[in-house]
Symmetry: C2
Subunit: 352 residues, 2 copies
């Protein structure tokens, strides 16, 4: 197959980690006879500096001509005091909305060889393998009215049935090919939007008799993610809760550098990025962990291109390299074999 991928390196370590991912995808292309075409666009701080806005039209055009988007990371202290519309993360919100990337997938797993660096006790973190499904284009992030003056402020949490159905259906579909369990997180004892959410979950659950599901209040979920994380399979929740819970859960792995994400449109088009930030302090030093971005490209193969075997090949390669005791510099305390960004990338490629 031939696939066009828009590459948005973004800021900080974004270039290094997307380069790593591209190298791995090229290796996949060689082994499985696929051809990838890379088109580079600006997003975030670099786009503000060079094109005057965080998501320039040219970037949108490049993405529209592509089959998927690979993103590094955006942001950095250079733009921290900019007005809202000139903030790098504004570009992220805009690209999600423009391409209707309404389903955000954030897998969290505990890699056996890294249990020593998890803040959780090893027996608590062991075996964690959950998929957080976050609604990404609705809720408090986008509802109107939304403004503030010197004396008061308002934000609006809006959801339509359609928005909720879309993401909840996706979660149940995923559960079917995972461990058949969905935990829907809401605050139905207080919020009206959560009451509609809960109702729709119950309707959709009826269509999936083999999938076990439960409702959990967001505060209870915030506890259980830490006390009993291995009890979760698929978690589905609205935008803001998903933001908080997915970052919370990500610490289980021991390093943000390990974790990928996918942001999907209903037709399978998607944006793939690691969950870590742009880490300007280590940019250009060839020490960033490329695994989060490499695993994001595996998600791209699976979710946007239907290349399941290829996706598995990447995930297996990563697992083998970790099991063999290799890691990047953020793990130096556990005294494994520390590799640079490019060495880690080569090591993973050698397993493909």
């Amino acid at each position: 197959m031939k696939k066009r991928v828009a590459v948005l390196q973004g800021d900080g370590i974004g270039k290094e980690v997307t380069d790593a991912s591209i190298a791995v995808l090229e290796a996949i292309g060689r082994r499985f006879q696929h051809e990838f075409e890379w088109k580079y666009g600006l997003l975030g701080g670099v786009a503000i500096d060079k094109a005057g806005k965080p998501l320039p039209e040219e970037t949108i055009a490049i993405c529209e001509e592509s089959d998927a988007i690979l993103l590094g990371a955006v942001g950095g202290p250079a733009w921290d005091n900019n007005p809202s519309h000139l903030r790098p993360e504004r570009g992220l919100l805009q690209i999600r909305k423009h391409f209707e990337l309404s389903v955000n997938l954030r897998p969290v797993q505990a890699f056996k060889s890294l249990l020593a660096v998890s803040p959780l006790k090893e027996d608590v973190a062991a075996g964690v393998d959950m998929m957080i499904v976050r609604e990404l284009t609705g809720g408090l992030y986008f509802g109107e009215p939304s403004h503030h003056d010197n004396d008061k402020a308002v934000d609006t949490l809006l959801y339509s049935r359609e928005e909720i159905e879309r993401v909840v259906t996706h979660a149940f579909e995923l559960a079917k090919i995972r461990r058949n369990k969905v935990t829907s997180v809401d605050k139905a004892n207080v919020l009206e939007s959560s009451k509609l959410w809960r109702k729709i979950v119950e309707e959709i659950a009826e269509k999936y008799p083999d999938v076990e599901y439960e409702h959990m209040l967001v505060d209870a979920a915030a506890m259980k993610l830490i006390t009993y994380p291995s009890s979760f399979d698929v978690i589905v929740t609205e935008n803001m809760f998903g933001d908080i819970l997915s970052d919370e859960a990500s610490v289980i792995t021991g390093s943000l550098g390990m974790l990928p994400s996918a942001s999907l449109r209903v037709d399978g088009f998607g944006l793939y990025e690691p969950i870590h930030g742009s880490a300007p302090d280590i940019a250009g030093k060839n020490i960033a962990n490329p695994i989060g971005t490499i695993l994001s490209s595996a998600m791209m193969l699976r979710s946007s291109f239907g290349m399941l075997e290829e996706a598995n090949a990447i995930e297996e390669a990563v697992k083998n390299v970790l099991d063999a005791g290799y890691c990047t510099s953020e793990f130096k305390e556990i005294g494994r074999n520390i590799l640079s960004t490019t060495e880690m990338t080569e090591k993973i490629i050698s397993e493909i």
Copy 2:
């Protein structure tokens, strides 16, 4: 001094844990020559059953005649399928709003003798001693419009300058008598209400030049609470974020049964309750942990009655009992001396 306390036992283990607290306060009264008068009122499920609503007028009247409110816990499966206005937790929201209990204090500490039961590694949890200050009567919980039909739903996050100033000022005042550090948590990169919040924090911080402060995004805070919890002193945040983060942080201690809370009006009147729920499964068995409620009554002495020495006496007593290896049944796995609710209460009283 003579103080009148409204006692709202609520549901489940509520009676047992408030009884324990009352016994401890009586002991304090004997030692320090205070007199407490207890007036009992209904709240929650029991109020729905006996008076047709979760917060009956008679309970309001009892609380209005009192100097503070001691609450056990509300809720249980018996009322889970009731319509919203007949849910036990509705009574909680109503009592907070009626008495303008706008500042919710949730201290979280890691007790040395219980580090073994924390889900966090012992060196991560050790030394944790933070105070979460949650705004309790504004934000998404109370803003209008708030409704849903079959196709859409809306909730409204509203804040006035006054509401924000009140809680943020309280947080800075607390920091002054603690470790001089405030972490204000918001989502200012997305929410308008958070932008106003951040602005007001900066204004108030100017009046406290000796208090170090920082802004933290809620998703970053959800991570750091687990990766580096001992870095926090006072955390201040809006209602919904506070709900999620305080429950998340509470797991550090290893048992919800240990943790107290205070909900304060600006004039010092307050409601005091443990953060745990009504635990109907263990109600009436004399095995519930009374410490969360006993420590809540210490907060009452300190915050509503200005009895600092007395509050310290309770906290010291609890610490001594824990350090001596005593605990309640939820800790059986760590093989200490397990006491019943009443035995634990007696043991604490013997240290006063």
